[in-house]
Point group: C2
Amino acid sequence: MLIGELAERTGVSTRALRHYEDRGLLVPARNSSGYRVYAESDIARVAQIRAMIAAGLGTALIVRYLDCARGGAHGVHLDMCPSLRAELDAVSAHLTAQAARLRETRARLAHLSAA
Amino acid sequence: MLIGELAERTGVSTRALRHYEDRGLLVPARNSSGYRVYAESDIARVAQIRAMIAAGLGTALIVRYLDCARGGAHGVHLDMCPSLRAELDAVSAHLTAQAARLRETRARLAHLSAA
DNA sequence: CTTGACCTTGACGCCGGCGTGAACCCGTAA
DNA sequence: TTACGGGTTCACGCCGGCGTCAAGGTCAAG
């Protein structure tokens, strides 16, 4: 599968896919013409990446997540995951705090329009 | 109060304060030398602004919020607030969704390290 | 007068996830 | 051959909230 087809089937732009390769998130094989050749399983991988980006994670963190996932699958680097999970906790805490502050702001707005 | 003092008392950099003026969030008076002169009440206003930025709101939206607040205090523009509140709802929904996705990601991680 | 702390207005840099050309190769169909 | 719809690698642009010089004016103290 070439990049155009993967883009179409995942709904992700070719530019984004190339960007993911730059960041080491999804590195495809190459054919004799230098074209990127993707596997079927890469569709799922793209979905994973998109979900994590949508969750507010940066590509640098996602790379480590994928490494952790691969390591975990082979039973190696099991001690790397906890530190990563700690980072995810931190990001999660930030989002929670932001949501709380936003709720407070909305409360003030409601108070204003009630007055 | 000059900008340095306000910066010190609020913990916000002078650069940020000037930036807020550029964005129309906090426009101080000027003395004969062209120096920015802030009122005591601006300390509270800066706190407001900081809270809203921390909540993930952009300056463009915050300007409208402040206008709405002033308008609300005078009983004018009461019809502007609802649309603003809708935008706040949208931002809030985004944050909530991100938090949910992040939880999902963390769950997958936990699943991996357990396997 | 000089120093030094504080103020002024530009204006460029950064980060991050891409969009958007530019300029060029590949392979197939007409 | 030509055209065309793929692909390729740079490389600059954008947004947003500032950091960080740069090049000066202001003013009280020594």
